[in-house]
Symmetry: C2
Subunit: 125 residues, 2 copies
């Protein structure tokens, strides 16, 4: 799965770069048009307004960098991939605002990969 992991990590680099630049519209475009984002404390949000809202909220809450670490991806040979990873959100001074984990379902649309389903939760109760 080395190639798949590399593929996902390259996409995650774009994701982290958009977040760091506070470009939440650009970040939302990394998702499919009919994406589903599933944050704690809310119903599932449908469409790109979802990630824009969720990550703008994190920025407004003081998060300035998002670190994503891929733990598992699979499978080969299809247009849908799952990613199981961890995240760390840090504030301006580098302190950890939140740490948790997520699963993303990636979908290939017109030759490019997009986040299609995104669910995550905090390691803190």
């Amino acid at each position: 799965m080395a190639d798949l992991k590399t593929l996902i990590e390259a996409n995650n680099e774009k994701f982290m770069a958009c977040f760091k630049a506070n470009d939440m519209k650009g970040l939302a475009k990394l998702y499919t048009e009919d994406c589903k984002i599933m944050p704690t404390g809310s119903d599932t949000l449908v469409g790109r307004e979802g990630p824009e809202k969720v990550f703008s909220g994190a920025w407004a809450g003081g998060v300035r960098t998002l670190e994503l670490k891929v733990e598992e991806v699979g499978p080969m040979g299809s247009d849908v991939i799952y990613e199981r990873s961890t995240y760390t959100m840090k504030t301006e001074d580098g302190s950890v605002a939140d740490a948790g984990k997520y699963v993303v379902i990636w979908k290939k649309v017109g030759g490019d990969w997009f986040l299609h389903i995104d669910i995550f939760n905090s390691n803190k109760a």
Copy 2:
């Protein structure tokens, strides 16, 4: 995707039946041996002790029925399926203890389907 949805729903019936019978060892056997369960407030748990612990915890907290409602399923190659669904946990008197959503990655092992990755969160903050 009608057949896939039917397949997942049939597996979820087994899951709900195990939970209702407080058979958490049986429930854990519906997961792969190296499954990952990802509850809020904890790191990812690896192996069947994870679901046994998580769902025993829900039972101890007064939950007596678990209702799963499939919203979307999709194939990834032939031996992996993703499921996006909602859950409702109810106590003995039928009141809602918690409601939320989840994503499960199902894996086919030796002809049978098992939950391989399970991540969920509450709609309540």
